[in-house]
């Protein structure tokens, strides 16, 4: 399902209803036309876009709360920096790589910046303002980069981190997007990823996983006897606020991925997506509370926060077609994945500070595969069976993993041998805030010293 096809169909419905009034009798096809549809579609992009932009704030607060206080300023700077770099890179080369138009299906569109429209100009043929579409796609790009920063927090220097983000947002993420939303080879196979469980979340998750392996764990995190040394988060209320902000932003992420609001059917679908998105998150939270209570005799608040996000990531690949019950189940399984894979990563000595790998990668894979049970694509006029769809979904997951994994590994290794990725052990132990930023997040005696 390309994002282009969605747009085209919405527009067709609009124009058909003028030419053939009888067609409009079908519920859902009842459409506004021309300028009104253009305005409503654009409005959906803009509302969705600023909601997803705000997810950058959610990630920043979640991460600021889950790192130790000596690294909090650094984490805040990384988050506002990566959001901005993502926007710049997506404009400079990213957008045209992601949406190359007619291309070989694997990589293309190296045509440089995306120039928007002239002042006052509007092309009714697109069905929406191209700038609103660019803005909406750009904030998705930033989300991918946010995922990486949480995993490799507290032990990566600022400059190499920003260089990695530059390549991720300018090239790696746009190429993956072109395969599906840009009408590339995955789209042709019938792969389906509505709002990006794989394209956005798993891409970020793979980059984070490879980063965590190459960069290594935080100093002192794993004892010689296999013991996990706990570094508790410094501010749980902040992490909770960040999670709620992300949850709010997700209504834009999934809802506006309907890409059209010019028909009665579209606006109803957006509403259903809101409900399914919310219920999946709720399912993830309740599951993680129950499982941590049973397993550890204490309900773990940070796992509940991760459970919400895992539920949201799980439903992102298909937030429209499942019924509410299925949505809750999809989210609940996402929550269970988090509770069981967070300790698993620790066993493998993969140090993921905020749990971004279980949330965005593992739940993202689950959500992508789960699409097959609710939606089957049509390829060359033939609808796929559930098994065939499952196979195509798995191919999409694997292709993304191989490409993002290898590309990320090359960048992380190149940074390691050139600039060096990690600060000195002494710097790491005293905290990155003093060495890299010079500003402590929670200064004491700042005025009297």
């Amino acid at each position: 399902m390309t994002r282009y096809i969605f747009k085209a169909s919405a527009l067709c419905a609009g124009s058909l209803s003028i030419a053939q009034p009888a067609f409009a009798a079908a519920p859902g096809a009842d459409a506004v036309s021309g300028g009104t549809a253009y305005i409503l579609n654009t409005l959906l992009f803009m509302i969705g876009g600023f909601l997803v932009m705000w997810m950058a704030a959610g990630f920043a607060m979640l991460e600021a709360g889950l790192v130790r206080s000596k690294n909090t300023s650094t984490q805040c700077l990384k988050n506002i920096g990566l959001y901005s770099i993502a926007g710049l890179m997506f404009w400079v080369i990213g957008y045209n790589i992601a949406y190359p138009g007619d291309f070989n299906g694997y990589v293309g569109g190296f045509t440089g910046p995306y120039w928007m429209q002239d002042v006052g100009a509007a092309d009714l043929g697109t069905g929406y303002s191209v700038a609103s579409d660019w803005f909406f796609q750009m904030v998705f790009c930033a989300t991918t980069a946010s995922i990486v920063s949480g995993t490799v927090a507290e032990r990566v220097k600022l400059v190499p981190f920003f260089i990695f983000v530059t390549v991720l947002t300018g090239v790696i993420y746009p190429i993956v997007v072109s395969w599906e939303w840009g009408a590339g080879f995955l789209d042709a196979m019938g792969f389906s990823d509505f709002a990006g469980s794989t394209l956005v979340h798993s891409t970020g998750g793979w980059a984070a996983l490879v980063g965590a392996i190459i960069v290594g764990a935080r100093t002192g995190r794993y004892g010689a006897d296999g013991r996990v040394n706990v570094f508790p988060g410094s501010n749980i209320p902040l992490a909770t606020l960040g999670t709620f902000i992300l949850w709010l932003g997700w209504f834009g992420f999934n809802g506006a991925s309907q890409l059209a609001m010019g028909t009665v059917g579209d606006v109803s679908d957006v509403s259903k997506i809101f409900v399914n998105t919310n219920m999946a998150a709720a399912g993830g939270v309740v599951t993680s509370i129950i499982l941590t209570q049973l397993r550890y005799k204490k309900a773990d608040v940070t796992m509940a926060l991760n459970g919400a996000l895992a539920g949201l990531v799980s439903i992102t690949a298909e937030p429209l077609t499942p019924n509410v019950g299925s949505s809750i189940l999809i989210g609940a399984i996402g929550g269970a994945i988090v509770v069981y894979t967070v300790p698993l990563l620790d066993k493998l000595k993969i140090d993921d500070v905020v749990g971004a790998i279980p949330v965005h990668l593992f739940a993202g894979i689950w959500g992508t595969l789960a699409v097959a049970f609710n939606t089957q694509s049509e390829v060359d006029g033939v609808t796929l069976s559930i098994a065939e769809q499952l196979g195509v979904q798995a191919i999409g997951v694997a292709a993304t993993g191989v490409f993002v994994g290898i590309a990320s590994a090359i960048i992380w290794f190149a940074l390691q041998v050139t600039l060096g990725v990690r600060p000195s052990e002494e710097t790491e132990l005293s905290g990155l805030d003093i060495a890299e930023i010079g500003v402590e997040a929670y200064p004491e005696f700042a005025r009297t010293a």
């Binding site: 706990v230 550890y296 773990d300 509770v339 967070v342």
Partner: protein
């Protein structure tokens, strides 16, 4: 003059402060501290990993008192901070060599 250092359970602070006020203690310095004694720590779980917190939060009081009231201060703290449970804390008494009020330069017991 004596210098009294008492380490007590945090929730007992208000009670102790009131009781000391009632016997005429005019000032004290209070800080939040962590430490351990026979009570040891406790086990917590964070993101699937168990860990023991060796240090428990306590409140430390520092009070300078004249020789006459020092014993009464110690008794008052001992009685009011007592829950008859492990971890109630300790009281230490030191000889105090001098005291100076910064504003006036007064020294000795008049500075307390």
């Amino acid at each position: 003059m004596k210098f009294i250092i008492a380490v007590i359970k945090p929730f007992k602070l208000d009670e102790v402060r009131e009781a000391l006020g009632a016997i005429g203690v005019a000032g004290m310095t209070v800080s939040e501290v962590k430490g351990f004694g026979r009570q040891k720590g406790q086990t917590e779980v964070y993101r699937g990993a168990e860990y023991s917190t060796n240090m428990l939060p306590k409140v430390k009081l520092e009070i300078a008192a004249s020789d006459e009231v020092a014993q009464q201060v110690v008794e008052t703290i001992q009685q009011t901070a007592n829950t008859e449970a492990i971890g109630d804390g300790k009281i230490f008494v030191l000889d105090l060599a001098s005291a100076t009020r910064i504003r006036t330069g007064e020294t000795g017991e008049t500075a307390l």
